[in-house]
Amino acid sequence: MDPTRRGLLATAAAVTTASLAGCVGDTDAIGPYEPDGESGGATPEEMTASPDEDAVAETAIPIADDQLPVSYSLETLRGEVIDGGVPQDGIPSIDDPVFEPVEDVDDRFREDDPVFGVVREGEARAYPQSILVHHEIVNDEIGGESVAVTYCPLTGTAMGFERGGVEFGVSGNLVNSNLVMYDREGESMWPQMLGTAIEGPLEAASLREFPVHWSTWSDWRERYPDSTVLTEDTGYVRDYDDDPYGMYNPVSGYYREDSDPIFEPLRSDDDEPPKRMVLGARPPEGPLSIDHETLAAERLLEIDHEDATLLAVHDRSIDVGHLYRNPDGEAFELADDRLVDADGDSYEPDEASLERVYAYDAMWFAWTGFYPDSAQFG
């Protein structure tokens, strides 16, 4: 939506809402974020359900060996699912994506336009945010492996999942403002951020995840000049120059750090502005979040989390964070944007000689809503 339209509609709606206070919602919720320290909502309770073994054995969808942690019972989460206002596939996934080389892109993007980058099986691909905001899921194949590259604009989360040839689609429902995907095999319901089905034949099973990096067009192009880029040949016509929620370049509308979420989160926590970006992870020791801006400033963070020692690294070339397990507390430093260990060996920030911990960027309200007991760093 262009800013003019949003502004005019907001003005008109503000007048209407003021005169119809109570019809649309609490008028205190209108306007910029105001910390009040209140919290409430759903009651956290560690998920204890386990997936049906027969269903896991029969499905073509690759299921993670270890169930991902979920901080609520499945019943609670199902009770918190809301209709997002669109029918199933009303936001259509891209099922036959078409890519073009970086050099063919011309002036389709501005330098700081956000793109989501994937490097897998030696292949680099960029998925422009301007396209994914209209489709949310790309059923793709990278290096001969079928994957789903997914993006939820309301929670600011871009995540990759292995899909074993099964397509994923947009259910039209939301939980904690997050996209609820469905699989086109048995129609299990998968909230994207949880990566775990909350309903259907595969309920309580977790997907195999892989990182999708938030970056910008100029950074990605420079770091991965051989990358290919998703085109607007999606099988649908959309106004790809227009984001219905706001704008990232520069930041405005729904994406403003201090703006309120549209839907009430599972839990409110006003420690941070609602849309502030954090790097979230959920290792077996328990979920944690790292403030993205702090990590970008510090570049390297040593984190003691429960019994684990972790190392967070900021990759300046594409402005993303990586998280590693550093059990021996090995000393690292950054030199010329490369990670250097005690022996003087150096690595790209995403190729350290340590065990990688899967982490993804998310808006603060969404992360703390799903993981209310998450430890906070940075």
Binding site: G7, A12, T17, A29, D83, P87, I91, V237, D239
Partner: protein, 203 residues
């Protein structure tokens, strides 16, 4: 006037007949027709703009992009009462996402709003003969405004950043049909008060 001795179904039928006559009268008079046409055109443009189907910006050039299998696409729902666009039309400063069903819904609403306002106009320009001019005008414009709000209510929720409950989201899709019903009700109300024999509102 409708005789009080008539039964309810008879009264309803008579009222509908009067509404039909009044509507024909409105479109038969050049000034009322102009009001209806202008209002309907403005409303349709506003409807398409508010529902993200129409935008105005510079540097678009001129082109038409049509999806594969447009007939099948046209019936795919993207919202409770919204359907897939089948073509993207760029005309230098105007971009139109052409969804036939959305266009039909918008045109129907626009026609109803235009007709309501045309009848209200008739009542307003001859107030002394009827004594209801301003009242009828207001009666006609209220549902028109309500339906206008209904069509773009979800967009407004996003634009305003209002936090809404699931209940409100459930209600939103019903605002558009409610707006249509109100517009039809308004037409019947105002239409029944116009003296179609003399081309003037009933005194």
């Amino acid at each position: 006037m409708i005789p009080v001795t008539e039964t309810l179904p008879e009264r309803i039928r008579a009222r509908l007949r009067d509404t039909g006559r009044a509507s024909r009268l409105a479109v038969g008079r050049l000034d009322a027709l102009a009001v209806a046409g202008l209002v309907a055109a403005a409303y349709l443009a506003g409807y398409l703009w508010a529902t993200d189907r129409l935008s105005v910006r510079s540097g678009l050039g001129s082109s038409v992009t049509v999806v594969d299998e447009p007939l099948a696409r046209a019936f795919e729902r993207t919202g409770q009462l919204q359907f897939e666009p089948v073509a993207l039309v760029d005309l230098w400063v105007v971009r139109l996402l052409l969804s036939p069903i959305d266009l039909f819904v918008g045109a129907t609403l626009a026609a109803l709003v235009g007709l309501n306002l045309a009848l209200a106009y008739l009542a307003l320009v001859q107030p002394r003969s009827c004594g209801l001019g301003a009242g009828a005008g207001a009666a006609a414009s209220v549902p028109a405004l309500l339906s206008g709000t209904a069509c773009c209510a979800p967009v407004i929720v996003i634009a305003l950043g209002v936090q809404v409950s699931g209940t409100v989201i459930t209600v939103l899709p019903w605002l558009l049909p409610l707006g249509v019903v109100l517009l039809l009700g308004s037409l019947v109300y105002v239409g029944g008060l116009v003296d179609t024999k003399n081309g003037r509102p009933v005194s």
